[in-house]
């Protein structure tokens, strides 16, 4: 299985400590800027149906806007209840102003 990188967003469009919801094919992804480093995890909370990119960035955690469960932005690991199922995480690279997200193909 190989990883194919897709252009997801302009880096300059994502302010530090905020997220952006992007869709690549069937993948709904939350893309975050943590102090200039970019990370991509599954965009939909595994507990509810909320978009994680609409939540609150608290340090290295994203708090779901619906029920306040949290996930690690760097890994997608579910940290706080009611979230118990991890979201996937995706490799990210930056080329110029473009943020690219890797999807297994």
């Amino acid at each position: 299985m190989s990883v194919e990188f897709h252009r997801a967003a302009a880096a300059s469009k994502i302010a530090p400590d905020t997220g952006l919801h992007v869709t690549i094919g069937e993948h709904e992804i939350a893309l975050f800027n943590l102090g200039g480093e970019f990370y991509a995890i599954g965009g939909i909370c595994t507990h509810g149906a909320a978009r994680l990119a609409e939540g609150y960035v608290e340090g290295e955690l994203i708090e779901c806007p619906q029920h306040a469960g949290t996930f690690e932005i760097k890994t997608g690991r579910a940290v706080d209840a009611p979230c118990t199922v991890d979201v996937p995480h995706y490799p990210v690279k930056v080329e110029g102003d473009a943020v690219l997200i890797g999807i297994e193909s």
Binding site: A15, T18, G19, L20, H21, C45, H47, G48, A49, A50, R51, A53, E54, Y56, P65, Q66, H67, A68, G69, A81, P82, T84, V85
Partner: protein, 413 residues
């Protein structure tokens, strides 16, 4: 403090004082929640141009009215009071009272007033909330009347509100969330008096939820555009069985306040506003039968713009949306083949959910996933009670008309 769409009332209340009316939620949330911890009598009557709703989260108090068919209500835990726009009212705590007030995001004109013993108005000070914060106006008006303002922190509170609002506007907008609108100054300079047709009303969450028939029950009969519509909801899957899971979309905010929860994502006194599109219920494999939660979910009906909602059911196996119905949240789906009495119209959110789940359940084709082929079970609509609410709305409307016709029959002429 940073304003968030989630807070613990009992954790925040010790930081608040009498008539702080501090806006707790992010800018742009409508209705906004204002928190106070009242220990002394309100030194004026407050008049809001738009409807507000007061919720008592602890302690006991009294709310007095002027120029109203209602003189006063006593307040205890779980009481909600609907205060129609233009109604002068004043709070008199009997014990320390933690109160939340639901207000329109842009409240327009507000005023404070004083009355003599005969009920005649002595003085009124009116301001436009687009120009002046209520706390600044409280301080200005009370100081001008030589009222002792030492029990109040309005200058500090106003400063804190200005700082939090500036921080909110400086914060990068959340993805998918429109930036908050700037309040527009009103052309009017006086607040119209309240209508006799819409008096203040009180209901108690704990008493009402005992007799409520649905999982979403409006506490008050006011559902017109601009009305604040608090609805009780009681979740207890251990007693009533599987909740199922659906996705609800709304073009107005839903403000959720818990009045008692256990084994739930909510905490007692927890306040939360979710995204416009949000999951409701429990996903397959994530059920928690021990969960109980009594909450009040409140929305403010849209004014001068469409209000749309949608109800969607998803595949329990792969999450694909199977069936989605969009509806006008101002329209009552009168598929019961009879005229609906405008006095007892149902809340469209409930009646539309009833119709949608019935259509979904009636046809296996609607429940078969086009993506993975899984044939989903019917949605457990009985748990939510929407159809019961809709059926009773119709029957109550019908019986009211039968009674009216009987009273007008020739034998009684």
């Amino acid at each position: 403090m940073r304003r968030k769409n989630r807070f613990d009332t009992f954790k925040e209340a010790p930081n608040r004082g009498s008539y702080d009316d501090f806006p707790m939620l992010e800018l742009g949330i409508d209705p906004q929640l204002h928190l106070s911890r009242n220990t002394v009598a309100q030194p004026f009557f407050l008049i809001c141009e738009q409807d507000t709703v007061l919720a008592q989260l602890s302690g006991e108090a009294r709310i007095e009215f002027r120029n109203s068919s209602v003189n006063y209500f006593n307040l205890a835990l779980g009481d909600y009071v609907y205060i129609p726009g233009g109604t002068p009212h004043r709070i008199l705590p009997k014990t320390e009272s933690i109160q939340l007030r639901y207000k329109a995001e842009h409240p327009g004109l507000e005023a404070v007033a004083w009355y003599d013993d005969s009920g005649a108005e002595i003085e009124r000070v009116t301001w436009d909330c687009a120009d002046e914060l209520p706390q600044e106006a409280y301080l200005r008006a009370c100081t001008a009347r030589d009222i002792d303002v030492s029990p109040f922190r309005w200058a500090e509170v106003a400063k804190e509100i200005r700082e939090t609002e500036a921080a909110e506007r400086a914060r990068p907008p959340k993805d998918g969330v429109p930036p908050p609108k700037t309040p527009r100054r009103r052309n009017a300079t006086a607040i119209a008096p309240a209508s006799d047709e819409k008096p203040p009303l009180k209901n108690n969450v704990y008493l009402f939820a005992r007799v409520a028939t649905s999982s979403l029950n409006p506490l008050f009969p006011y559902t017109e555009p601009g009305a604040i519509v608090p609805c009780t909801t009681l979740q207890d899957p251990s007693d009533r069985g599987e909740m199922g899971y659906f996705i609800h979309s709304n073009t107005v905010h839903e403000v959720n306040v818990s009045f008692g929860a256990r084994d739930s994502y909510q905490i007692p006194g927890g306040c939360a506003v979710g995204p416009f599109t949000h999951g409701v219920g429990q996903k397959a494999g994530q059920e928690n039968s021990k969960m109980i939660n009594l909450a009040v979910i409140t929305q403010r009906q849209a004014v001068d713009e469409p209000q749309h909602e949608a109800f969607a059911l998803t595949c329990a196996q792969c999450g694909e949306v199977l069936f989605r119905r969009e509806y006008d949240a101002h329209a009552f789906p009168d598929v019961l083949d009879d005229e609906v009495d405008a006095h007892i119209i149902g809340l469209p959110t409930i009646t539309q959910s009833a119709v949608t789940s019935a259509v979904f359940n009636a046809d296996e084709h609607n429940r078969t996933c086009g993506k993975c082929g899984h044939v989903n079970s019917p949605f457990p609509a009985a748990y939510w009670g929407w159809d019961e609410y809709r059926r009773r709305t119709y029957l109550i409307s019908l019986t009211r008309r039968i009674m009216r016709d009987a009273a007008n029959a020739p034998a009684h002429a």
